[in-house]
Symmetry: C2
């Protein structure tokens, strides 16, 4: 009974009111195909985003300094015929070499943010690991560059060609191979869509240990190749821990058969880890074995207002301590981001009062009564200790969605005025928000921020995955203006470098951040990374690095012009 | 109130009785130094274990086929003087080259299981990363082989020399570098003892995400180098997920500065993963950054009897589902193991009735009332559905220790009669116990198992970390008998290979399992692993592999004769 009386107290003290039930946003999955504006997984750097009506500019025009490497062969009719024979199925080859297929090729040439566009004339869709092996070996033997492509939902231009690289699209490898309900081990083809796998698991009481906005289209192979972070990382950890095994194909056709289903296996170097986050630069992932947790039956979401970033940190520490094993998300949003969301959606705000900071907390557990009690106790504590000023708890799944909308809707709303400069950063937690303040100060001092059309900047906002120390710094603009970029760069990167942060917390390098890795990694580390690239798929050709361990020549054909 | 009445029902139906409070075993940490018999972390292959009184046989005599590689230089007085100058401190060099220091060197030459013994005449104890770098560079330049050594608590002979390799002992690098209470990120020197780090974290409301019997002596650097599994893996995952950064030194002296404190950092290949589980064959880990979870305030332990392995699997599935986020251990013990423990300790058994299988479940959570309720509900379910036949729940921390004793005491008790053949295996969970039955049948059929002294085998037992699908198959013997080994090998390895299991789930390869890796890895994988070894520390000398990326010669000096 003691805990019950505490609950009532908490309810009174926290002035918890039913959350707005209005539908704030279209489902995120749909939004991806309807707009160039951004959803949860679009928090990369998108400069001068253009409207849907315009044709995407070729990457080769945007980045004129990148030249096609003349060592790569031009694709001929002979090559195409060979691939048609190799893959058999008519639908496995989109051939723009021997005929005009521009429209069919366009979805594979461009990214969904409409920022990158390549010139490929050939898309191959292998249907098995053996076919991937045959294709890659032939490409390597014939000096044909390739770009591996999953759901093509990346943010840094990693999954589309720059020039005429052959697109190896994995969508035909879409089978769930096996699932063990006792151990929770799922084995899938690389081309299985994340949402399909999660749905399959849901019917069996499990979840995929990764969740992100693009789940309706992204491939698990692509998630692993880019080491996707997303919404469940705080709870279920990174893919480096949950992926148990990988099957991949090296450029010389070698099949890396490391598809272990075992949770423990200390027999030699853990090579599969190199493919997690390699962005298709050393091989193509064809199969994944992953440990999937039990699905939680109880989900709670609370939304708070706080008066300072110091209090946000205190709230996070308390949430970790008190909500402990049931805490599944702790998201941060500043008032600037919420003002812009409100400005666009006109939806009723979750809290009546306004605060400099807001946090969204999600709990997932196996017992809703227990979880409610823990959450209420936590609420009571943070209210009584003046850590949190006001709060609201979702009463049903509609309200859960509504509260999440104030967090997940930020990227889309920021795109409302035009372009958005986006930085996906990892920063030691104590200093995380300082960057947003400093950036806003600089933009303001330069006279660039204002409510009137003569100011290019609409707002400088900070939000992100507090639980992972992952800040999304976004600068919403009315138009492209070189003076804004001059204030931002290299300032932001240098600020990150000084604090040993990461210039790409979860989105990877691709083409967009290839030249900025030096801000997050030492020359020694970059050198060691190039050594790995050279081991599997040499880009520089002096011996000893143009032959693999079997003496086969390898030629740097994997996803060129990108990564490191 | 509904849940309360269910609890009473459970208590009645399960015949839960207070567990025996007798102290079953000395603390495991002490046991390590007092006996050759095994504690939790000794479940490797220990053939023909000898008593404490005998001198350890030299590895070079046990394995006469391994010859000292003549490419390595003999250590001279000049080398020793150089190291003395390099390391400064008198205590940093144990010099058996210019004088007799056999007694001082002995603890560094032999392993604690008394199975492996080397011939080193020089132990170096660098005090900083720079000193490690200087030492390794000099060794590499002078073709001096080395063996990195942490707490020397390994089970496969990986941390002691085979011949005269120089021991680089990390015990002087024992500082906790930093801890961030908000994020839970701990940064330590490699030589910090696991228990010291865990104690430090305990005072700050956190725990180290790894626990094992040797924690009083093992180094965190050694844990990471061997990818230690242990008792908390079911809950907190593997080190591949929790280690955020590594600082290491390559044989040419290069310092790998990958000591990130960030949870997310997608900027290039995740090279630190190669050092996790590399057993000191490509470099020496000098610093580690690791994400540490909050310490749970509530711990519960229950002990059950079950009638079949099928029911064990059902109980595990239910525990995962119902105990979900608070389940922290699910350990399996067969009746044979418990009979032998009882035979040695004479302690009162936790349950009055006897059963073919026993399980120990541990929960760790933030709210003891909630955890108790979940556990009782689970108990009620498994009893009512005839999954579990009888059970007992610990009432206090003494009983928690007592129940754990029936699991953790197995290795020590098995050593009571003489030697123990030990296999540390990972097997798809459905077939996990089949191997124990088949092995016992074969040993029985060969007439080797019996209660009388003319039978070499006392018992064939299975136990282990059910939650990780990790079986410890142990064969307790009265004496070394070649006929036992002939029944066991290659039978056990072939059985594992057929089921794509692992011949070393958590103990690594070292010297003991170097020649068996082919049962768990394909020739392709072994080839790719050798490529990694050759990249950092070439063992075979044909070009291109005797120079690193900077053009420095490297010579295969890192922990030779072991691993792959």
């Amino acid at each position: 009974m003691a805990s019950r009386s505490r609950v009532s107290l908490a309810l009174r003290k926290t002035r918890i009111s039913p959350a707005s039930t209005s539908k704030l946003f279209r489902p995120l999955i749909q939004a991806r195909y309807q707009s160039t504006a951004t959803t949860e997984d679009t928090e990369g750097i998108a400069k001068g985003t253009t409207g849907t009506s315009k044709t995407i500019k070729f990457t080769s025009e945007t980045y004129p300094s990148i030249k096609r490497d003349s060592k790569f062969a031009q694709i001929t009719e002979e090559h195409v015929n060979h691939f048609k024979q190799l893959l058999g199925a008519e639908s496995a080859v989109i051939d723009g070499v021997t005929k005009d297929a521009t429209d069919d090729l366009e979805p594979f040439n461009g990214d969904w943010m409409r920022k990158y566009r390549g010139h490929t004339k050939l898309v191959l869709k292998p249907g098995s690991t053996e076919e991937v092996s045959n294709v890659l070996k032939y490409c390597n033997d014939n000096m044909l560059a390739v770009v591996p492509q999953g759901g093509n939902s990346g943010l840094v231009g990693g999954s589309v060609p720059v020039f005429d690289e052959i697109v190896i699209n994995m969508s035909r490898m879409n089978q769930i191979r096996s699932f063990d309900e006792i151990s929770g081990t799922l084995v899938v083809d690389a081309g299985v869509i994340l949402e399909v796998a999660d749905g399959y698991l849901g019917e069996r009481g499990h979840i995929f240990p990764l969740d992100l906005g693009a789940k309706g289209s992204c491939h698990i192979g692509g998630n692993v190749a880019t080491n996707a972070g997303g919404l469940r990382l705080l709870r279920y950890g990174s893919l480096h821990g949950s992926v148990l095994g990988i099957e991949a194909v090296l450029p010389d056709g070698t099949i890396v058969d490391d598809l272990s289903k075992l949770r423990k296996n200390n027999t030699g170097y853990d090579l599969k880890q190199l493919f997690i986050g390699a962005e298709g630069t050393i091989g193509i992932i064809t199969g994944i074995s992953v440990l999937c947790p039990q699905r939680s039956s109880a989900i709670n979401v609370a939304f708070f207002g706080l008066e300072s970033y110091e209090k946000v940190q205190l709230a996070f520490k308390e949430a970790k301590g008190q909500l402990s094993e049931i805490l599944s998300a702790f998201e941060l949003m500043d008032s600037h981001s919420q003002d812009l969301v409100h400005n666009v959606t006109k939806n009723k705000r979750p809290l009546e009062s306004e605060h400099p900071f807001y946090c969204l907390i999600e709990t997932s557990g196996s017992n809703s009564e227990h979880d409610n009690e823990k959450l209420e106790k936590f609420l009571e504590y943070v209210m009584e200790n003046d850590i949190v000023s006001d709060g609201v708890v979702a009463q049903d799944s509609t309200q859960v969605k509504s509260l999440w909308g104030w967090r997940e809707g930020i990227p889309e709303c920021l795109g409302h005025w035009g372009g958005v400069y986006k930085y996906d950063l990892s920063i030691p937690i104590a200093e995380l928000y300082d960057l947003v303040n400093e950036t806003r100060d600089k933009i303001t001092a330069a006279g660039l921020l204002g409510d009137t059309p003569d100011h290019p900047v609409v707002g400088v906002v900070g939000y992100g995955h507090m639980g992972d120390s992952n800040l999304h710094l976004n600068i919403a603009t009315r138009r492209y203006d070189k003076s804004v970029e001059k204030v931002l760069e290299p300032f932001v990167y240098e600020w990150i470098a000084k604090r040993s942060g990461s210039i790409s917390a979860e989105h990877g390098l691709g083409l967009a951040k290839k030249n900025y890795i030096g801000y997050s990694r030492s020359q020694t580390m970059i050198g060691l990374m190039k050594q790995i690239k050279n081991l599997y798929d040499p880009v520089c050709l002096p011996p000893p690095f143009s032959y693999d361990m079997s003496g086969n020549e390898v030629n740097g054909i994997m996803n060129p012009y990108k990564y490191i």
